[in-house]
């Protein structure tokens, strides 16, 4: 693994773990649009309030959302910066492979120059020793 990443490996693990769940991705989408209380979120899903709380906790650890109290409510706020970093990280991996493929291609092309087919005719001689 050679990508120069802005996130530590542990952070990347948390991030992908968090994004690997459809409900959690859905929560992120909702709270990026507009911050919402945990109870409002819980009403949107068939799973229990406790389950949504757990999902939010996972998202919080990955810093995809932040939570604050407003009276009795817990308000969930989406962190767009973290999402952008996730996207950049994926983009970096893709670019890394793209660059590798380019260099592999260059190496393959060198072959063509180094091993001309015998039928290609005599090797041209460049004489530089004549005055």
């Amino acid at each position: 693994m050679v990508v120069q990443q802005e996130l530590t490996s542990a952070e990347v693990d948390l991030l992908f773990h968090a994004l690997a769940d459809a409900t959690r991705r859905d929560i992120v989408q909702r709270v990026i649009d507009e911050e919402q209380s945990v109870s409002t979120l819980a009403r949107a899903y068939e799973v229990s309030f406790a389950a949504i709380q757990k999902h939010v906790a996972v998202l919080e650890r990955a810093r995809l959302v932040t939570k604050r109290r407003r009276g009795r409510e817990q308000i969930v706020h989406g962190e767009i910066d973290t999402l952008s970093r996730a996207e950049r990280l994926l983009q970096q991996y893709l670019e890394l492979w793209q660059q590798r493929a380019g260099r592999m291609d260059a190496l393959l092309r060198e072959d063509e120059g180094r091993d001309p087919a015998p039928s290609a005719g005599p090797t041209p001689v460049t004489r530089k020793d004549t005055p």
Binding site: D13, A20, A22, W97, L108, D111
Partner: protein, 165 residues
């Protein structure tokens, strides 16, 4: 000529798939992977060239390499080969190494599967597919046990959609 066909992120398996085509036979592209002198010419980014001090492309075999940055900083890594079927496929784990060059399993490893397939008879053109898993095998297993079953590029598509919104 390289043709990059596609690159996709799979939210289900946490994999990144990259497909490229080369004007060469699979045998030739295979050499780029198993010959350390050729491998080190393309593995590291140009600003961080790789040096393979060990390269044992056999099942269970280990490779050790370091990359040297513009200021001379070294970053060490290793591969552990899981399987090889020349010239069609190889699977290896890729991880970090300590400064002493020992395998550091405390940091996440990725697992990369490479498939080389001849196109139209296979003598002149090869399609290379690499699939890289992001997290450690343990982490991935845990995630799979959690029952995540989501479609290709979905997470990525959602990220883009969210950012666009």
């Amino acid at each position: 000529m390289t043709t990059t066909l596609e690159s996709t992120v799979d939210a289900d398996a946490l994999t990144l798939t990259f497909v490229a085509e080369f004007d060469a036979a699979p045998d030739r592209v295979w050499q780029l992977w198993v010959d350390p002198r050729q491998l080190e010419r393309w593995w590291g980014p140009p600003t961080w060239p790789a040096t393979f001090v060990e390269h044992d492309p056999t099942p269970g075999g280990v490779s050790k390499y370091f990359m040297t940055g513009p200021d001379g900083t070294r970053s060490a890594g290793w591969w552990r080969f899981v399987s090889l079927t020349p010239p069609e496929s190889l699977v290896f784990e890729d991880g970090f190494a300590t400064e002493a060059g020992e395998l550091d399993d405390s940091l996440p490893t990725t697992r990369t599967s490479v498939t080389l397939a001849g196109i139209d008879g296979g003598d002149t053109r090869t399609r290379m597919t690499t699939v890289t898993r992001f997290t450690s095998a343990d982490e991935l297993e845990k995630l799979l046990q959690m029952g995540m079953r989501e479609g290709m590029t979905e997470a990525m598509g959602q990220i883009e959609a969210i950012l666009a919104g």
